[in-house]
Amino acid sequence: MTVSGATMSEPILEIRGLAKNYGPVVALRSADVMVRAGEQHGIMGANGAGKSTLVKILTGVVRPDAGTISVRGQVRAIRSPTEARRAGLATVYQESSLIPDLTLEQNFRLTRTPLPAVRRWLDELGLHGVDARIAARDLPLATLRVLDLARALAADPQILILDEMTAALPADLTETVFRMLGQWRESGRSLVFISHRLADISAICDGVTVLRDGATAGVVEPVRGREDQIVALMLGTVSRPVGAAVSSTEGPHEGSQAAVLEARGLRAGAALRDVSLEVRRGEVLGVAALEGQGQQELFDCLAGVRHPDGGEILVEGRVRSFRDPQDAIRQGVVLIPADRAQALLRLRSVQENVALPMVNRPSRWGLINVAREGRQVLQAIRRLEIDTRAQSEVRRMSGGNQQKVTIARWLASGFKTLLCFDPTRGIDIGTKRQIYGLVRELAASGAAVLIFTSELSEIQLVCDRVIVVFDGSVVGEMSAGVADEATLLRTAHGLAAERGSAFTGAVS
């Protein structure tokens, strides 16, 4: 794989100073990307670095606030997916974009893609004899991904964008795809490859643009074995932690306590392959993972939202099967989701929201004891220092205060294990600190806490121990003391695992 040939050729895609705000939230500050004809270019970045916003702009789903996109030296305004295709860009997304209820033939007609061209690419990709009269809904996921790719290629784009496309592909199929893309570039076509997998990136890319905090942090040439360079760019200067919310001296009671919640070989869908863990009384166990590595499925299974395809869940040493969240709650396992809207009745008052699990207990009949309920609710609200000025409707409160209400509800009704899925997403630093302090306090009073946070730098602030999940499996476990951001990021990219290197060895 020589880079010299690529560097000689002209730039085919040039992105300059691309910026996008969602209200006060800056998603993209200033992204610059340059891709040459025939180049296979990677884009990487930690969670929230702006990758997905960049893709949305390139595909015409979102319009930028500033910056330009030039294709072959011409500035193009991309206002819709159709215009993106006209500009010579075709995208394969993380999820299939085939319409489930239409047949394949209808799907190709919808995008005006000629069937013979799709067939030719399907043959190249080793998928023969698919009947176009079958509905997309009735095909397995891996087949759909290959069809997505074949359809994108059949549109004969100048630039193909693969957005985490390989995430749902089996390894041998990924290999086939890479081999074919290598041939495709010979005709001077370019590839933009967005991925979390460093191994994949270094296997096929000539250059990598690293995004950090919504801006381009640097462009590097990926050399196998030197992926640390990319990780360093993703991290930038090691940021100061939010503030020492917890003194690390009040450490865990290691080994002394029995596991309250335990998972053995948990499997669910394609994302969660094999996760075992145990959370002990008084312990905060962190889960570190990049986007979409199976953590959502893990928490869904543990909270009873979803039924696992395999493995078992044990509560205080006994195997339990949760049919629904109510089962989990009855066992004392409660969930704080990232999206407050999922947990709260946004139009009802703080009191009602906090009291909901108490009132809703399945064993409970008859009238609600308003006085007792009120006392418990008030205690919880005071303890969490919830700002109750806007208490008549929860939706009028700030995100941080809303999240406190979801915690208060479990505080008032009692629990043994707290599952926190990215509890501080979109919450200001001050409230973040309060929430972490509260989580520590809950653990100190005997609760077991499992917490996933998308901000790796915060793991050390709140956890005693951390497991790293990559590609649906646990790839590392360490005590919080050594789990600094760089270590976590390396492990979360699958760098420490042997399977990564074995895998890249197969593609060349």
Binding site: I99, L110, D131, L139, P140, P170
Partner: protein, 333 residues
Amino acid sequence: MTSSGATVAGPPPVSLTRHLIARNGWTISVYVLLGLLFFFTFAVNPRFSAYDLRSLALGALPAALAAVAEAAVVFAAGIDLSVGALISVSNVLAASLMVNADFSHSLGLAAFVLAALTVAGLINGLIIIVSRVPDIVVTLAMSFVWSGVALMILSQPGGGAPPEFLALATGTFMTPWVPNALILLVVMVAIVWLPIRSRPIGLSIFATGSDPQAAMRSGVNVVRARLSAYALCGFFSGAAGLALTMNTGAGDPLSGGFFTLTAIATIVLGGVSLTGGRGGMLGPLAAAYILALISSDLIFLGVSPSYGQVIQGTIMVLVVMAGGLAALRRSAK
């Protein structure tokens, strides 16, 4: 390039015929049910005549067209609760315009009524798109508006249409056993719906209902697809109103009322998914005949109309439940 050793997941190991049967299973079942019901009808009423068939077809015609109107919107994952009111508007508009018209004139007026109702449907769609208020709320509100419009056109039952115009639906073709109402239904659906469904605009209606995100990524103009669905709904509501005029020979501003819920019941029975994207027009057409046949059989058997309603509702629940169980078993496999 040869795909050396790559185990790409190939097509599923089911034969295409089995796949097509599974996919169209509901429609096939609905037609089997209709056949059985005819069999039953002949069994209990050996004197079932061409005249009975003609009144059956005549009675089913507006209901079937109303179902087609509703289905067009439901395919795009919308719902229209103003279908009944639109039918009233069409009915009174036709009856008041045609009262003194001759036959050729009445055909032109029918075309005008269809155009007007298409615009009415488009207005429903535009309000939904612009206001971003859910379909169900907007069309419920609009049902009152369109009912009011119907009363403004004709405050009480009246009007009329030339006999030749009525004969378009009330007559028979070649033999007494082929009612015009059936031909009219098939022709209307064939010349309006079939061309649309096989063109990109029809595909985009289904795509929007099936998965709006994927549809947008496939380059579908989702707004245009939804507007087209509502325009189509207006058009077929107009046709249903004309059919009602042919059947009764007059206009009644309250005539359309109950067609909204019957239309929804009919399409559900006909295998259209209320969540959008799934189903076709063939199922609802048969379902409209099934419902008409059940009520006429019940009347023949002397069942009191109040029990008749209960029985009709029970049959519908049972059929939909059976369909749901079948789908559940298939997905569990």
